[in-house]
Symmetry: C2
Subunit: 354 residues, 2 copies
Amino acid sequence: MLAGVFHGEGDVRVEEVPDPGAPPPEGAVLRIVRSSVCGSDLWPYRGKGGWKAGWRTGHEMTGIVESVGDEVTSVAPGDLVVSAFAWSCGDCDRCRADLQTSCRRSMFPGGADNEGGQAQRVTVPLADGSLWKVPDGTPEELYDQVHLLTDVLLTGYHAAKLAGVGQPGLGGAVADTAVVIGDGAVGLSGVVGAKLLGATTIVAVGHHADRLEHATGLGATHTIDLRGKDLHKAVLDITDGGAASVLECVGTTSALVDATAVVSPGGSVGSVGVPHGVEDARWLGRLFSKNAALRAGVAPTSAYVEQVGPLVASGELDVSAIASDRFALEDLPAAYESMDRRECVKAIVLPQEA
Amino acid sequence: MLAGVFHGEGDVRVEEVPDPGAPPPEGAVLRIVRSSVCGSDLWPYRGKGGWKAGWRTGHEMTGIVESVGDEVTSVAPGDLVVSAFAWSCGDCDRCRADLQTSCRRSMFPGGADNEGGQAQRVTVPLADGSLWKVPDGTPEELYDQVHLLTDVLLTGYHAAKLAGVGQPGLGGAVADTAVVIGDGAVGLSGVVGAKLLGATTIVAVGHHADRLEHATGLGATHTIDLRGKDLHKAVLDITDGGAASVLECVGTTSALVDATAVVSPGGSVGSVGVPHGVEDARWLGRLFSKNAALRAGVAPTSAYVEQVGPLVASGELDVSAIASDRFALEDLPAAYESMDRRECVKAIVLPQEA
């Protein structure tokens, strides 16, 4: 079969690799119908991560179950399933507490030990905890959007959760005002998450006029184009002293500085951008002066997919603006390049049946 | 009257200054019966803060109301009152949300504009929002402990609140395990706060055997003397994968590194040590990998004093171990030196009536 393999900075290739064998007792083999390139793939792609030559690539995958191990009970051959980007057992204390990304047996696609999602097939070693069965009858024209449930859409939802949208803050008031920093696929997903969780004022902040337009379509009530704007002043013009919830969907020092500047006293910053190059902590003083919170982490998508998945699979929630571009698996290098140059919001990758 | 005045690094003097005049309409003049030196006084005392020569010192004060302005309704001359260390109006949206330290009109004792608490008298400009009337009949032998309500005891309580003790975490489980980092007056107060809020396992972490003994007396179920110990391993020996709540009561990089190391996935670090010298943020990656929260800030003591105050004033809650040492106001320089050398947990300062 064909699969993406990392060779070095800026060099991901599609190569012939062995087909998966029989799945392990708790695992399943999927024939992948949708994969994609994630923003978090770009750091190692640019040589700023721990990827090594020869590693399989991709952690976002939607597929048809081909075979399952003896102990699998929740899915069966023929099912269309979305995989969590972090595989989990579904059964330990962490999984039961909806912290599946901290599962006691957590595993991640790709790398030295596992197959990756940018491929024709993949072995998911912990099927029951990691796979969500897409409702029967979901039309194929929604597969691109359904595939966003594997990571980015629920990562944005997680940002809204971490930022406390719809939850009472330190002072007891329910947070209904959200600022979303970042207009990439995660930021746009954050707008969706903030809306789903009940925010009534949603301010999307970014650098791209076209993406901010998409943000409005997805539920943003205000947009701020950072080019030439004083963000702090612009947010204070909309909110009275800051936003109770700030979704930090970038993961850089400047995004954290912005987020802590515009969060209100007692508010929360939810940070889902994998931190890179955050070498100073001067923004800590801003948290401190405002009794604000910073919650950071990777999304336990398995905790959310039951709530959000049916909305997407039924077409009730239209997130097509996020699934912006399609590439054939053979064109995976071009998909990486497009994401790297920010030419597309999200590169969906379609393997051919083989 | 006599009052503490800052002259430069390591140089606080007690000097004759003018008596307060009549209070402003919303203010009160107190005759101070207890004051104290705070850990946060030590940074500027050591030349690492913004204090300028000539500034009045001290923000912790308990006193008898001598006079009130026309608009004051909650206290009257003769009342024994504890002042919040941050003065607030009590009436704005922030105060009503129990975020009094972010009051729209917040003022702080001392500095260029206000009188300080290390003095015989003080003008509190916002009496109704800042003063708590001590219950009638509170015996004088409890005044030292009651005075702790002005700051440190409720700062420890705030750390426990920020760390989510007794609250459901990200995964829904109520946090009942707390690690308290720091065995100074704030750390010991954190132990008290964690116990009051319902923690059943409380691990006190510090460097001083005698203070850790006090921590046990105040409610710690375990103590860890950091000298020669691997904190992470020691905490993991007690908890299964970290503590849901970590009270960071120091405010240094190493304390944040320790706190983020021992917090459990989905847990919360509550940080009340004023951040000093936190120049790197490598600990951010630890928060991220665990979906943990960092909440930081100064304690809105006015939000808590109604709950905790009566317990102290009635003698039900014994926090005498925290009010460790007494100094006359005239010996204020010695009180600073004692705190600076960590010879005492807390220096209570007693002005003479004048």
